[in-house]
Structure formats: C-alpha cells, structure tokens
C-alpha cells in the first residue's frame, strides 16, 4: 500500500547559516501556511478510525469481556482484546511490565482494555459502548510511602510494589552541624500537555508487515516494542516520524502504536488513531509526584556540612521511567552545591495512580524544588542573603558531586547566580496601577491593596543524556551530490524533531562541516540507524555529534576523490563555499565539478563517553556524561487576601556550552521556564482514590500569554571539552529552576512555609 496523503515532507531550504548563527527553521513556512503534516493530519484513502476502550477503575479484576455486540455494529471492522495480541502482550521502556491490552487485571484508570476500528470516529465511539466488561472492583493502592514500606499491601506486580530503591552515601552520613534546617516537601502530578494529540496512521504492507506514521520521541524504541507485541521481525515494522506537536517526555512511552498496527493488520486497511484531549490525559504518562524529607546542616558561616534526604516517587501502575527518576532524583539530590557529607535515599513505587514517566527535567524537578526551598530556609536561619548562600556553596569545575564523580568540565554555578542577581529588577510599583498587571488581572479583584512583592531564586543541576552505564548513541547518514549544478547535502537520521529545532541544527552542522549552503533534511524513519530519544537534552549533543561525524567522513571521501583526480594529496584540505581549499588558501577543486554524477554517502555513529552504574549500596559511581546548569530569579506580586499570584518578571541565566543557534537557545529557555511557572502556581493533575479529577484543558491549567511575565535570558558559553562543539544540553534546566524561584519568591512575599507546589490560593490564604 502507498504512503498516506499528507505524509512527512523532506525539508528543503535555502536559508544560509552555520553553527553559532540563528538561521530560521526549515519547517517554519510549512507550519505557518498550515501545510505541515502533523500526525493527526495524516489521511489515507480507505482508512478506518481506531478507538480505545479504557478502564473506568484504577484497580479491578476483569471477570468478563464480551465484544460480540460491538463487532456486530454496522461500520465496525474489528474489535480486539488482549487475546488478539499476536506477539507478547507486554512492553516497557526499562522494565517489561505493561500489557498492550489489559488481561485479567487493570491497574490504573484509563488502562486500555479493548480497541476497535470503524468507518467514522463517531461510529467508533458509539461502538465502544457496546463492549461489555464486567469488573470486580478492588481497593486501589494510592499512598506511595506506604507502597514503599508496607509489605502487607497487595502486590500490583509479581516483584512487589517497589520499582527501585537507591541509597547514596558520601563522607560521614551521620555528620553534625551548627545550624540545621529541615522540611517536608511535596510536588503534585504535572502533565506534559503537549498540544498535538497522540496520533498516527498504520498502513498494512504487502509483505505482511506494517508501516506506521506517527508522532513520537524515539522511533526505534517504539519499533522494538511494537514489533515484539505484533510478533513480527523488526524489518517488518517500519516507522516514519510525522509532524510532532510537542512532546516534553510524554511521547516516550507507547500510546497508540501497537493498537493501530494491530487494527491495520487485522482489517487489512489503513487505521488512523487520534486521541481527544480527555483521552490524551489517560493515554500518556505524567510527571512523578513526590514527597521529600530534607535536612540540611551548615556551619555558622553558611558552608554546607551535610544533606540528608528521603524521597518517594509515585510511579503509578507501571514502571515506565521510574527507575531513571529514582537514579536522577538521588544523584542530583543535593543540587549544584559542594556537600561533603550526605545520606540520600530514594524510592520509586508502583501504585494504582496514573502511570508516571518522563517529563522535561526528569527526576531533577522534584529534588530541586525541595533543596532550593531548603537553601532559602537555611539562608534565613543564618541571616544570609539567599543568593549569597548559594554562591558560597556553589560547585565548580573540579568539584566532586554526591556520587563521587569529579566534574571535569566547566560548572559556572556561582557566576550564573551572580548574573541573574545582577539583572535589573522591575520598577517598584508606585501610584495608580494598571489592574491588568496585578494579581487577578482584568477580573478586577484588587487595585493594589493587600498586594505584596517578593523575590526568589532557583538554581539547578541536570544530567544530560542517558546515564548509569547505558551506551547512548545516535546515527546519521549524510549524502553529498550535485543537483542543478550545485552541491547539496542530504541529512538523514531517525532523530525526532518535536519542536525543539533539531532540523535547523542538522542543517547548520552540515553547512559548517561541508562548506556549502544547500542542505535538506530527510524525514526521520527507521530505515537509518537508531538516534536514541529526543529527551534528556541529548539530541544536539548526540545526533549533532553523529551528523558531524558523518559530514567529516563525507569530507574525507571528497578529499580522497580529489587526491585521485589531482594525483596528489591536498595538504590540510577544508571545504568552503562549495570548493576544496588547501591549507595555504589555494582553491584546488570545485565540488560540483569534482563530484559530477557521483554521490558520496557516509553513515556514522556518535557515542558519548562511558558512564557507569551506581554502586547499589553506596550510590557511588560516574553515572553521568555531562551536567547542565541554570539559575532563575523570579519577582512576584501576591494578593494576600485572595491568594492570587502574578509573576511580574522571570529571568534566567544558563550555561549552554556553545550556543549552536542562539535564538533557538533563548526560545528553549523561555518555553522551559513557562512550564516551570506552570508547576509553581497552577499545573496539577488532581488524583483522588486513583481517579483523575481534571482531565481537560478547562480544569488542567497551563500558562497563557497573560500568565507569562517578560523574561530576560542571559546565555553563557563555557564549552565542555568532551562534547561536540563544546555543547551542553539546553532543554531541561530552565524548566527545573523556574519552579523553586517562583515558590521562593512567593514565600519571600508572604512569609509562609508553602511546602507544596503548585501553590494554590488556599495555601496562601489558609482557607
């Protein structure tokens, strides 16, 4: 069968600009014209619509499942259950524990139980109601702390309810100090709330396989999991990335992949699935809520002596990324500070709450909120300025982190805090104020009376790329040929463009390395090697490195060709302006002439340097490749009577190693900061007894343009000698440090403890 209409486009482009410049996105024009093919836009003649029946209960035994009535509906072409899963009915990113379709047990509200395909989405929706499922409803397990320690609870999985426990011990875990502060902090369940729904189109193929066009963050990991469930060899399950409307971690786990393929293979017709917003809230994993017990000890001068912490991460029904959250959470638990002694413990558990997995800032968001709250508490106890306390304890190049790893690359933490502290503050409000600038805005709830202002800081450290011993790599294929008399490079990787601008970056690298202007980006698919995930702030580093390596191999092939033609090797050859230039500046060949009809194509991988697992007892080990750092300063106005908060200004300083595309870097920092603001004051999936109370954009609030304040962004470039071009992952740190900066500013304004985010009006007014 043919490819769908509106399929992913090759991104041609004539916009010049290499590394360090800010050329425009090659997909920008398509996007503003409404012509860019997102996964929910895919369409195929003869296609059917898939739909999913989900469990209404967080914990139940399925005692009867009867699909015959649904199947008898006119316009319904297939109704499938766990019995129809052709291969192994289990998948998972780290642990294989998630059924594609529930068997005898459902473990969370919204777990897929059956799927069907019909002529029209409305027929599909109606037919779902005809599927009979009888449940024996069970008591849900909802308290993560109990799930970690109480062996008398029912076991949700054969191995029990603990996904991972990690301890980290550094120095003297029982150290004592002059000044001690402690607190218990909680963080609610945040959602990625990407705008483009989970969607895709599965097209059955002649060879008995299937072609799946979809929005995802990692094509190959989807391919592996889907093929296993379909019982097909990898090469018969081919995936192509279509337009992705944001991801933020929420597309790391499977959603409609296996289901749409099962339906397509069963019906022999293309099947499109596209979740609506309600279903999207059930169809992807969320950020882990956490409860964290922290104690900090310091000298009278404000030097940290020890940190002790226990943290509980609620993983929900299936493991997803919980093991990584525990790893990141514990290894990043003391923040970007020098701490000689520490005793940290983290638990990730199974419950019957919604499954939690990857979200921007994975595992670092939770402890950063806690330790940055503690840093302010400590500053108050010491009578020190909060920024000053952070600067005094800031780690730097050569520091040893809590896992014993020595930081052998720049870590300008103190400078980031200084820089953000030194940015100009907004003017103090005087006289009559525009109510639209006040908390409550146009709803006219105050004219300034009862409004107090506060300033707060948040600083973070985030690991970049996959950790703890994973061989985390990417692959790129680069072809150079002459089209229309001009040398053109084509870059092909499986790396997912999810909005971050990777396609622009691939062009910039190819232009720089190959010294030419015209570069196209091939749609990402599984016909080229694995690129790993568009997550963990790793794609610029890893896929950027792979594109660089492939380009350099292409350049070497070109030099070899030139040597052959010229009968001599060219000393110190480089490529510039479509020509081969010798070290002395002499132009020795024109690329277009040299290549003629020949195309040069090379495929290369990039592997980052090795990391190592943590010692299970002490948590020591060189677990991380690289760290990113950012600092925020927030200024807030709070209406004490109504508990309303207006973030007046949010500024950020971040070290990016090398700003490959400075405008895009700033845009990542702005966007990430908005998500951190959301977590601070509004975003939470409310779960009661395992059930989600607010699965809609009416009730799950994300920041609007009225909620986001003006931002100043100060970008530092301290190259990491181990990274391609010196880059440092950018995407995650700003999300992480924005939240505590805002929480600390609200505390500074109100004098309240506020040990939980998001901070709601009632937390401020005490009602």
């Amino acid at each position: 069968m043919s490819a769908p209409a509106r399929s992913p486009q090759e991104l041609q482009d004539t916009i010049a600009g290499g590394i360090g410049e800010s050329p425009l996105r090659p997909d920008g024009t398509l996007k503003v014209r409404g012509e860019f093919a997102y996964s929910s836009d895919l369409w195929h003649e003869d296609m059917l619509w898939g739909a999913t029946l989900r469990s209404p209960h967080p914990h139940a035994r399925i005692v009867r499942l009867d699909v015959s009535r649904a199947l008898a509906q006119p316009g319904v072409h297939a109704v499938l259950t766990h019995e129809d899963v052709p291969g192994e009915n289990v998948y998972g990113l780290k642990y294989q524990d998630t059924p594609a379709l529930a068997g005898d047990l459902v473990r969370y509200q919204g777990e897929p139980v059956a799927i069907l395909a019909a002529d029209h989405p409305e027929i599909a929706r109606q037919a779902l109601k005809e599927i009979v499922v009888e449940y024996d409803v069970l008591e849900p397990i909802t308290d993560p702390e109990r799930a970690a320690h109480d062996d008398t609870l029912p076991k949700l999985h054969p191995g029990g309810n603990l996904v991972r426990h990690q301890r980290i011990v550094k120095g003297d875990p029982a150290a004592t100090a002059d000044v001690v502060v402690s607190g218990v902090y909680e963080i609610g369940m945040q959602d990625q709330a990407f705008l483009g729904p989970e969607s895709g189109l599965a097209v059955p193929a002649e060879d008995g396989g299937v072609d799946l066009y979809l929005a995802t963050q990692w094509l190959h990991v989807d391919q592996r999991q889907t093929a296993k469930a379909l019982g097909l060899p990898l090469e018969k399950v081919r995936l192509t990335l279509s337009g992705v409307g944001g991801a933020f971690g929420g597309r790391e786990d499977l959603s409609m992949q296996i289901h749409s393929c099962m339906l397509a293979l069963r019906t022999g017709r293309p099947v499109k699935m596209s979740y609506n917003r309600l279903e999207s809230f059930f169809g992807h994993v969320h950020r882990h809520p956490a409860k964290m017990y922290y104690e900090h000890g310091a000298t009278k001068d404000g030097e940290l002596v020890y940190v002790r912490a226990k943290m509980y991460f609620d993983g929900g029904a299936y493991a997803s990324k919980t093991p990584v959250v525990v790893g990141n959470g514990t290894t990043l638990s003391v923040g970007p500070y020098n701490v000689p002694n520490a005793h940290i413990e983290g638990w990730g558990v199974y419950t019957n709450n919604p499954t939690c997995g990857a979200m921007r800032g994975l595992g670092a968001v939770q402890p950063t909120y806690a330790y940055e709250s503690q840093m302010d508490k400590l500053a108050a106890a010491l009578g020190l300025d909060p920024a000053e306390l952070r600067i005094r304890n800031a780690m730097s190049e050569g520091s040893t982190v809590v896992t014993g790893q020595v930081v052998d690359f720049p870590a300008p933490v103190a400078e980031l805090v200084q820089r953000v502290r030194d940015l100009p503050l907004p003017p103090e409000p005087t006289g009559e104020r525009d109510i639209r600038d006040l908390p409550g805005g146009a709803s006219n709830t105050t004219h300034g009376e009862g409004v107090v202002r506060g300033i707060g800081y948040g600083v973070t450290i985030k690991n970049i790329s996959y950790a703890e011993g994973l061989d985390d790599y990417s692959t790129a294929r680069v072809r150079l040929e002459v089209i229309g008399g001009e040398p053109v490079a084509l870059v092909h990787t499986a790396a997912a463009e999810v909005g971050q601008g990777l396609v622009t970056l691939q062009q910039q690298i190819a232009r720089t390395e190959l010294g030419l202007t015209r570069v196209s980006v091939h749609p990402a698919d599984t016909s080229v090697g694995d690129a790993g995930s568009s997550s963990a702030s790793r794609q610029t580093y890893v896929t950027g490195g792979a594109v660089r390596n492939a380009c350099r191999a292409v350049a070497d092939a070109v030099y070899a060709l030139a040597a052959l033609r010229l009968g001599r090797a060219v000393e110190g050859a480089t490529l510039a302006g479509g020509k081969i230039v010798a070290a002395d500046g002499e132009v020795v060949a024109d690329l277009a002439e040299l290549l003629g009809e020949t195309a040069v194509e090379e495929t290369r991988e990039f592997h980052h340097r090795k990391t190592y697992p943590l010692d299970p007892e002490t948590g020591q080990g060189d677990a991380h490749v690289q760290y990113g750092f950012s600092a925020h300063r927030a200024v807030v106005d709070v209406d004490l009577d109504l508990g309303l908060v207006k973030v007046v200004q949010l500024d950020c300083a971040q070290d990016v190693g090398k700003a490959m595309n400075p405008d895009a870097v700033v845009a990542q920092i702005q966007g990430g900061s908005a998500q951190g603001l959301g977590l601070a004051v509004m975003e939470e999936i409310l779960v009661k007894d395992g059930k989600v109370r607010n699965p809609s954009f009416t009730d799950y609030l994300i920041p609007t343009i009225l909620d986001m304040p003006p931002m100043r962004v100060d970008v530092l470039e301290r190259p990491d000698p181990h990274a391609p071009y010196g880059v440092r992952g950018v995407g995650e740190p700003p999300t992480i440090s924005a939240t505590p900066a805002i929480a600390n500013a609200i505390r500074a304004a109100t004098g309240l403890e506020l040990p939980r985010v998001p901070i709601r009006p009632e937390h401020i007014t005490g009602t």
Partner: protein
C-alpha cells in the same frame, strides 16, 4: 446532511456529514484542509481558530450545520499565493514557531487583532491572545512576532 460553505473564497460542499460533526472536522477530514488544529476540541486552546463571517471562532465548537452558507477563512487562506501574510512572515522570522501546533490558531487571532488594532500595546496583544495556548514557546517570541507584524503591516 449536506453542508455548503465558502472556504478561503471558494464555495465548497461536504456530503454525508453527521449531525455531530464540527466545522473543524469538516474542514480537516472532509475538505482536506488540516491547517486548523485539533488540540483540545473543547474550545479551550484556540488551536482551531478560523474566521467565520469575518469573526474569529473556535471551529471545534461550531457545529457543521451552523456553518451552512457561511464564509470561512482558515490559516490556509491567510497567504495570497506565494506571498505570506505579515503575521505569517513575522512568526517564522521571530522564532515564534516551535512545534507549531498552536501556530495556525494564533495566526488567525493575531491577524484579527492587527486588523482591529493596527498598533496594539503589549497588554492588548496579551489580552487578545489569551485564549490561545502554546506549550512550547513561553510566548515571548510570539509577542515579538505580533509586534513585528503590526509594524510590517503599517508599512504596507
């Protein structure tokens, strides 16, 4: 039922439309115009914003039948041939597009704002776009784009 509607200046007809279908569904799935986006289909995000008889509306909340005989302009209708509208140009140039899923709705809303208020202040821009969610950009570059588009339009 059958729905007749003028879309981007062309009379169009959709047959066999179900009672419950929205204008958004008709545009995207029946008329082959997927530019207007389906982010929430609940009237909350603004991604599906189109002009209906010259007034911006959420196409997901307009029943297909209600569109009968109306004049609809979608994001696909903002450009004139190859020439982008200034708001489209500015969104690209100012980096206001990341994943771009919010973009079509924002473009229609911003286009309408500049038509009504040729020199909008920041507060006016923020108020006019408050019904359009964007998850990627943090809005700062969207503000830049709208300011820039207003300036461009003033020059034309």
């Amino acid at each position: 039922m059958r729905v007749n509607v003028t879309v981007n200046g062309e009379p169009r007809r959709a047959d066999n439309v179900w009672e419950g279908e929205s204008l958004l569904y008709v545009l995207r799935e029946r008329l082959g115009l997927p530019g207007s986006k389906n982010a929430c289909e609940q009237g909350e995000c603004g991604s599906c914003t189109v002009y209906v008889d010259g007034v911006p509306a959420g196409a997901c909340l307009v029943a297909a039948g209600q569109a009968e005989g109306r004049d609809v302009v979608t994001v696909e209708g903002l450009a004139e041939g190859d020439a982008l509208d200034p708001v489209q140009e500015s969104f690209v140039e100012q980096g206001a597009v990341q994943c771009g899923f919010c973009t079509p709705g924002l473009l229609v809303a911003a286009h309408d704002l500049i038509e009504r208020v040729p020199e909008p202040s920041d507060v006016e821009i923020r108020e006019a776009l408050a019904g359009n969610l964007c998850r990627c950009t943090g809005y700062e570059k969207i503000l830049d784009a709208v300011r820039d588009a207003a300036a461009k339009k003033a020059l034309r």
